[in-house]
Amino acid sequence: MSTPIAYFLVVSAMLFAIGTIGVLVRKNALIIFMSVELQLNAVNLSLVAFSRMHNNLNGQVLAFFSMVVAAAEVVVGLAIIVTVYRRRRSASVDDLTVLRG
């Protein structure tokens, strides 16, 4: 492979940034969740890139575990969103202001 590893890392960084902006700017709970998934994927990508750089498979295995846990997390997170939606009839995160000071 002749592409510098750093390029993949740059892509990963950009994807992570986009995911972050998504978490902050969007109001729909599901889209925020999807942005979080995007962030996770960006991290997985960087893990695999580093694994290539270091010439062992630790990064890949870690990315694998990350995917597994992400799957579990998505399941639970969606269940929560569904429950909240049932109570409040709204998927907008801005309506969940119980923790105010």
């Binding site: 998504g22 902050l24 889209i31 969740f33 942005s35 995007l38 994927n41 498979l57 890949q60 694998f64």
Partner: protein, 190 residues
């Protein structure tokens, strides 16, 4: 020009572009679909980087299971309606975008300082790390060095499944006022 370079420069922009597009969608379904595109591009990256097993897992698990689940929920709850564009928190958008860009810049700077833009991966990657093919190599690492985390994740999955069943079930015994109110129009959504 090597194949991987071409692939990178084709799928890189698609990846970033689909991510940005996902961000800009008002409709949740459209956003989910753009995210699926993004996951595909990442799968391709995995392939280029020599992680063929992950390439497959990414498509099967992420794009195939997780995003499908997302789409289920979106359509179940009927939240594909557009959300309002009015930003209630002052400065959130601006500061958010600035900070996001800032993170990107910081990370890129860290990469430049740490790895350097010139470094190419080891030429003997396929021979050393991926001996016997990526799947066998991964299984070698996974079932030997990372065996305990492997078992732990399986427990985690089971626990997650139980949690979801509990969360999603409707408790008819303890009725709060909110639940009563929510129950009536919820009949058709169930």
């Amino acid at each position: 020009m090597a194949v991987d370079t071409v692939v990178f420069w084709v799928f890189g922009p698609i990846s970033v572009g689909s991510a940005i597009a996902m961000l800009l969608q008002r409709n949740a379904v459209h956003a989910a679909l753009f995210l699926v595109v993004n996951f595909f591009t990442i799968a391709v990256f995995y392939l280029v980087l020599g992680a063929s097993f992950l390439f497959a897992v990414q498509i099967i698990v992420y794009a195939g299971a997780i995003m499908v689940l997302f789409l289920f929920v979106i359509m179940l709850l009927g939240v594909d309606r557009g959300e309002s564009l009015v930003e209630r928190i002052r400065g959130q958008r601006v500061i958010g975008i600035v900070l996001g860009v800032g993170i990107a810049i910081e990370l890129i700077a860290a990469v430049r300082a740490g790895v350097g833009f010139a470094r190419v991966g080891p030429a003997a990657f396929d021979a050393v790390a991926n001996r016997g093919g990526n799947a066998e190599a991964i299984s070698r690492v996974l079932f030997r060095d990372y065996f305990f985390p492997f078992e732990a994740t399986s427990v985690l999955l089971i626990v997650a499944a139980i949690a979801v069943v509990v969360l999603a079930s409707r408790r008819r015994r303890l009725t709060t006022r909110a639940e009563v109110v929510a129950q009536v129009p919820d009949e058709e959504a169930a």
